[in-house]
Amino acid sequence: MIGTGTGMSRRSFLWRSGGGLGGIALAHLLGVEGLLASDEASSPPRADLNGGLHHPAKAKRVVQLFMSGAASQCDTFDYKPLLIKRNGLPFDPGGKVELFQSEPGAVMASPWRWRQHGECGAWISDLLPNLASCVDDIAFLPAMVSSSNVHGPATFLQATGFVRPGFPGMGAWISYGLGSMNEDLPTFVVLPDSRGFAPNGPANWSAGFLPAEHQGTMIRPSAPRPIRNLRLPDALSLTDSAEREGRDLLARLNLEHADDRPGDSRLDARIASYELAARLQLSAPEVLDLSGETEATCRLYGLDAEITADFGRNCLIARRLLERGVRFVQIWSGADNGFPRRNWDSHEDLARDHGEMGTSMDRPAAALIKDLKTRGLLDDTIILWTTEFGRMPCSQGGKGRDHNPFTFTNWLAGGGIKGGVTYGSSDEWSYKAAEHPTTGYDVHATVLHLLGIDHTKLTVRHDGIDRRLTDVHGHVLLDILA
């Protein structure tokens, strides 16, 4: 997309100067609608595309719930009677079984009971009673496969499409492709688990080689300062009016400086960036202030119970961000691989650790679906539930489960997604994908498709390669589209 030679320089400059908060200002300042029209990624949306870039969009925003540490498919969404039948017997699916850190133990039935739910009759374990009530809105992908069985690379694969660091996150690509819907807020927002970062840390939501403003802006609602540097630190105290006066004075200094240096739009863009910063200072605290939410809403998200309060608050804030036009919100359930377990990596005691993680996630995630639906936002908001790989149907050390990259479940709901369907299936053990093996690339391609983006066309030349979110892979999952 970015050309070469002298002809590209203006475009390249615009590209390097970005399309987010600052870049938008730049575009306005330059009065460059016409100029931008030649640049696919930044072109103002055509009305008939409903905000899409290459074809009409079905959805405008995305919220991704990332279950870090590998959530077990065979204890949540992938029901296998055989595991109950063979519980405790040797695990022998045929062929060599290669596990990440252990020798295969006996077949282990889920500690939770299974029931059918909704009109579609999907089987859900009793670990997730609230999500179970949403199954008719959900499209399940129980035949997900990962090419890596290691948390770091596999997390990257779902987050950025590559097993190695240095690539833009999905939200960064979408920000780059579609731009902002609210200049007062960042386009891509990340809400990490309050206990810490998942494997790879913020590299999961970096802008990679895309301009910096496309990276995920981290908000930590439980921290004393949820957004870094939003406010003046205590070390210097100035009244609001002094701040305003200072801002005006700075603008005057900068305008005089720019007057002596005509023809350099960066100087104007930087002046505008201070105005945008001031707007962000006003809009961000408003989003994080939950005092206007009804008690019923707070309860819906589980803010009244300790175990669900953290993830629930993040889900509720996500809804408020989406309402205000943030394109992509990523919420993490699960921190690093430390001990005691604070993510889904239940090698030692699945009932205990998945019990806690599942319960903390279930009510808030279901609330997000229901709440978005009530507010009419689910129609054009995609909810994507992701984990980096699954867990083995056999036990590890008696009570835990080891990694399983051969089959696991992700699911989608909302804008343009058909509810109550299941695409693909695993084998009778939930050990390997059997029908329609599905990759993270496919999921990424599908999300981009619903946003009106052809995943093969959203590319950026980097280091000699036209890079895209889906590398050289990915098929849109037509069967789950509404």
Binding site: T4, R16, V150, P153, L230, L250, N337
Partner: protein, 993 residues
């Protein structure tokens, strides 16, 4: 077979005339189509190599519609606004499409027996053509020309009807030059001195001063470290610290400051350890190869023999070779991992030959020391090895002589162990949740590992019991991880065990594995030992499966009739903190299988002690019997010889131990090269033929072959020589282009890491080649190159806009003016330190942390902890910070700091609201604004005077009357720090004209 004309024609549009429609079309097909639509497996089944292929067509039918040629699928595919074909690169030019149309209408004539071939690479490519020194062009207007650079630039400007800009004023020049060469602002005194210097060589002397400054290397190194993606942690999951990465960073700074000749700089970084033995910098420089990310879990925790292990190593080597090729020769070789390079003549084979160059490279801490010390160490090690082999031969003689007797002794020992196994155990029926302590995995048995207990205070030690491991998640192995050689020491109050009391020493001879019987270690009877620290050191590790570990399930420390271990703090040289293993499981009251019974219960203790003492006596008997056999059966002179060698071995070991530890650098650890196969689609599960090491075959005039029997070091040395060869045109063009970019913000080639067909063409090819030859032939001095560039009138131009010139060349690729640039992240931070008057210019050494660090299973780097945002040691230049890969420094990151996960040849230059917030509100910036306020408050009496001073320090100029008045009024009402904060947020502060 067509030969001459087609090759000469090359791209169809480039040909002078081509009358025959076929000649024009075949040239297009050969340069754009046949590489996919040809060969054994043509894409879509369509081969365009012959007329037959055209007619037969592919999966979607014939490519030619003979009835109505204008609707032929071939024409359709290449026509329209968004043509389907070719899928890569620019669409065909309209005249090319037209040529195809005419040809099809003419019935697609095709001479007999003519087969087309892929000729994409037949046309010479600028970056691969040999370097020759171009003529310096003559120009009409010679006024103001300072050196040959200006002649090259001027002649292009003249050709386009452009004129250069006048020289920038002196204030601009010194600010530009100081930032460009040092990455720092000039001081008001330096500015004044330069303004007052009316000697004709004032500028040249300024350049000399700056090139001689140690700050120069720090500035240039920043760019280099961006390129080689250096950081101080591994990256990925469990992003561990690399405490010894910094010596490489210092090496780069040092090399630039010393103006190390570039060829030597290349050779050292690829193979300095091999090419410059005895020079510590030779080893340190290999930090280049290890600079990039490394997956700790994949390399260390993942089991050997798994598919994921192969993937991990493939990607690891890919990182090394991409680093070498991108950095030094500006080619995107890494694109040929899954298939032949799509744009450049780099076959997959070449890619895997480069993998083979790095097939024997592991990353790790490599020792280095001075030549003298290294030689003494070498001598001692040789003596140690000689002793070992002599001893080995003597021992095998002794073993031979005592063979039958020994078998009897061992059988007796085994039978006693069986008897012990039948005795009651000190455990409860409850299952243990943990296995115990497990060291990191070592590749050799002879690395020492220790684990130790801190009892909190010195206590009398009655006995120490070591319970071996017998993990449940491993095939049943009593005595798992129990080291054949070890010692147990205690220490009164010194946790470093400099002067320990040794309670048990089994480091000279292997002990038999105790199975799961506890070992009892006690001070010699009658002695009283009091200690706070207990350390168990394995000096020979237990063999697991082709690797070596040290594990124990439980340690019990008896004192005053009680077990004090559970209250201790356990530390270890290293530890696997994963699953059922962990340091703290060493004292958790459970062995690997069961909970231990109450240890304060005499019955429990008796069970343990009984088993322990039986083992002890069996082992004692075994050792004594073996000794008796030796005296009986072995000639005394043999025993004496063995004894004297043992004595010497102890002396040598002592001498070795007494030598100071060598320093470490995170660099190359050589090993036996692993076999490398060409991988179909880059898939480790589809290996093809095995390949040996080699370089790129596409560079003419250079032998890319490396002796396939070359050992690890020879492979890298060969690659280093290939890169550093005066005949490698890529190398010299690449580095002068980077230097040019550093001085103008954009390279003569604006894709500095890609000189292939997917990259850009040089804006001034002759200038690039002239610089490359000049640089190469004058010995590769980067300082001389810098001096040449910044001395040119082209560099010294003003950066002012010019409406007329912009209409012709808006992007200023022809350099009719200098480019204004925004400061880079580090420059902004460093400038704030200079302006605040607090820059600490101390050089080198370990990096400073700009975060709270908590070591853990997954280490934590918290950049938001207020106590760590502005530490006192952080007043050093930003290049000395400790760079974390997984969690970037948010302040620098938002200012477009380089991502150390990838090579960054050009920094993005974005302008965002978050940057405004960072400069306005980051505690670091606030602190510097206060520093500046303090400075000027000490310097001047009143607010206008102070504002005057602040302008001169921060912006390098006095304020206008209005600026002075407005800022002074603001400062009077809201404080000088608030006013200084505004100055440090101006465009003028962050841009250089």
């Amino acid at each position: 077979m067509l030969v001459g004309p087609l090759i000469l024609l090359g791209m169809a549009s480039a040909g002078p005339t081509a009358d025959e429609p076929f000649d024009r079309v075949s040239a297009i097909l050969e340069s754009r189509c046949v590489h996919c639509h040809g060969g054994d497996r043509p894409k879509g089944g369509l081969s365009l190599e012959s007329r037959a292929g055209l007619l037969e067509g592919g999966l979607s039918g014939p490519a030619l519609d003979e009835d109505d040629p204008e609707v032929s699928p071939l024409l359709d595919a290449v026509s329209g606004d968004e043509p389907l074909m070719p899928p890569e690169g620019d669409p065909l030019a309209p005249e090319q499409v037209e040529a195809i149309r005419e040809w099809l209408i003419a019935g697609a004539p095709w001479p007999d027996r003519v087969t087309l071939q892929d000729r994409r690479f037949d046309v010479p490519w600028w970056s691969l053509s040999p370097l020759t020194r171009p003529e310096i062009p003559s120009v009409r207007a010679t006024e103001g020309i300072r050196n040959p650079i200006d002649a090259f630039i001027r002649s292009r400007l003249e050709a386009e009807g452009l004129a250069p800009s006048p020289e920038a004023d002196r204030r601009t020049l010194i600010r530009r030059l100081t930032f460009d060469l040092l990455g720092l602002p000039p001081t008001p005194e330096e500015i004044d001195a330069f303004l007052a210097d009316d000697h004709p060589d004032a500028y040249d002397r300024l350049v000399d001063r700056l090139l001689a400054s140690p700050r120069y290397g720090e500035r240039r190194a920043r760019r280099w470290l961006d390129l080689v993606h250096f950081a101080d942690t591994h990256g990925y999951d469990k992003d561990k610290r690399r405490p010894n990465a910094w010596p490489y960073r210092d090496y780069v700074i040092r090399s630039f400051n010393r103006d190390l000749p570039y060829p030597r700089f290349i050779r050292a970084q690829i193979a300095g350890d091999v090419l410059f033995p005895g020079d510590p910098d030779g080893i340190i420089a290999t930090g280049f190869i290890a600079a990039g990310p490394w997956d700790f879990v994949g390399h260390v925790e993942l089991r050997e023999g798994t598919i994921d292990k192969l993937k991990t190593r493939l990607i690891d080597r890919d990182d090394m070779l991409a680093n070498a090729m991108s950095t030094f020769v500006s080619l995107t070789v890494h694109c040929a991992r899954c298939h032949d390079h799509k744009f450049d003549p780099i076959p997959q084979q070449d890619y895997y030959r480069l993998q083979a160059v790095f097939a024997g490279v592991d990353r790790g801490d490599r020792p280095f020391e001075s030549a003298e010390r290294a030689s003494r160490r070498e001598t001692l090690r040789r003596r140690r090895d000689e002793n070992r082999s002599l001893l080995e031969s003597l021992r095998s003689q002794i073993d031979e002589l005592t063979k039958s007797g020994r078998e009897r002794v061992e059988a007796e020992f085994a039978s006693q162990m069986r008897a012990i196994d039948a005795l009651p155990r000190p455990t409860l029926p409850e299952e243990s949740p943990t296995n115990g302590y497990h060291s990191a995995i070592a590749s050799s048995p002879d690395s020492a590992k220790w684990v130790q207990l801190d009892l909190g205070r010195a206590v009398p030690i009655e006995a120490i019991l070591l319970i071996p491991a017998r993990p449940v998640d491993f095939p049943d192995t009593p005595g798992f991880g129990f080291p054949p050689r070890f010692r147990v020491e205690v220490s009164g109050d010194d946790p470093s065990f400099e002067d320990p009391i040794v309670l048990a020493d089994h480091t000279e001879e292997d002990v038999s594995n105790p199975g799961d019987v506890a070992l009892r270690i006690a001070p010699p009877s009658g002695t009283e030992v009091s200690a706070r620290y207990v350390r168990i050191t394995a000096t020979r590790l237990w063999e697991r499966t082709n690797d070596y570990v040290f594990a124990l399930s439980e340690v019990i420390v008896r004192s005053g009739g009680r077990n004090l271990a559970p209250e201790a703090i356990v530390s270890a040289l290293d530890s696997i903190e994963s699953g059922r293993w962990g340091r703290d499981h060493l004292i958790d009251g459970a062995d690997s299988r069961h909970l231990l019974a109450d240890l304060d219960d005499p019955a429990t203790l008796e069970a343990i002690e009984r088993r322990a003492s039986l083992y002890e006596s069996a082992e004692r008997t075994r050792v004594a019997e073996l000794a008796r056999l030796r005296t009986m059966l072995v000639p005394p002179e043999t025993l004496a010889a063995a004894e004297s060698i043992e004595a010497d071995a102890i002396a040598v070991a002592g001498d070795l131990e007494a030598m100071p530890e060598p320093s470490l650098v995170y660099g190359v650890i050589p090993r036996e090269p692993r076999p490398i196969h060409v991988l179909a689609r880059g898939d480790v599960e589809q290996p093809g033929e095995e390949v040996g090491p080699g370089a790129l075959s596409c560079v003419p005039g250079l032998d890319s072959n490396v002796d396939s029997s070359a050992d690890e070091g020879a492979r890298r040395a060969a690659l280093a020589e290939w890169i550093a060869s005066p005949n490698n045109p890529l190398t010299w063009r690449s580095i002068v282009n980077r230097s040019w970019q550093d001085r103008f913000g954009i390279g003569l080639v604006d894709t500095p890491n890609d000189f292939g067909r997917n990259g850009s063409m040089p804006s001034h090819p002759d200038l690039l080649d002239w610089l490359a030859v000049e640089f190469r032939d004058s010995g590769g001095s980067l300082k001389a190159l810098d001096r040449l560039i910044v001395s040119s009138a082209t560099y010294r131009q003003a950066s002012d806009h010019n409406e007329d010139a912009a209409r012709i060349d808006a992007a200023n690729r022809l350099l009719w003016r200098q480019n204004r640039r925004r400061l880079e992240a580090e420059e902004i931070r460093d400038a704030a330190l200079v302006v605040g008057g607090v820059l600490d210019t101390a050089m080198g050494g370990p990096g400073f942390d700009l975060f709270r660090f908590k070591d853990d299973h997954s280490p934590i780097y918290d950049h938001d902890d207020p106590a760590h945002v502005d530490p006192i040691e952080g007043r050093r230049r930003t290049i000395y910070r400790f760079v974390v890969r997984s969690v970037p420094n948010p302040f620098l990151d938002c200012l477009d700091g380089a991502d150390p996960n990838v090579s960054v040849p050009i920094r993005n230059e974005t302008i965002t609201a978050l940057q405004a917030l960072a400069l306005l509100n980051d505690p670091f910036m606030i602190a510097r604004a206060k520093d500046l306020a303090d400075r000027v408050e000490q310097g001047a009496e009143d607010a206008p005077g102070r504002i005057e001073e602040a302008f001169r320090i921060a912006l390098g100029r006095p304020p206008t009357d209005r600026e002075r008045a407005e800022l002074a009024s603001f400062a009077t009402r809201h404080g000088m720090a608030a006013a200084c904060r505004l100055l440090m947020n101006t465009n003028e502060f962050v841009f250089v004209d």
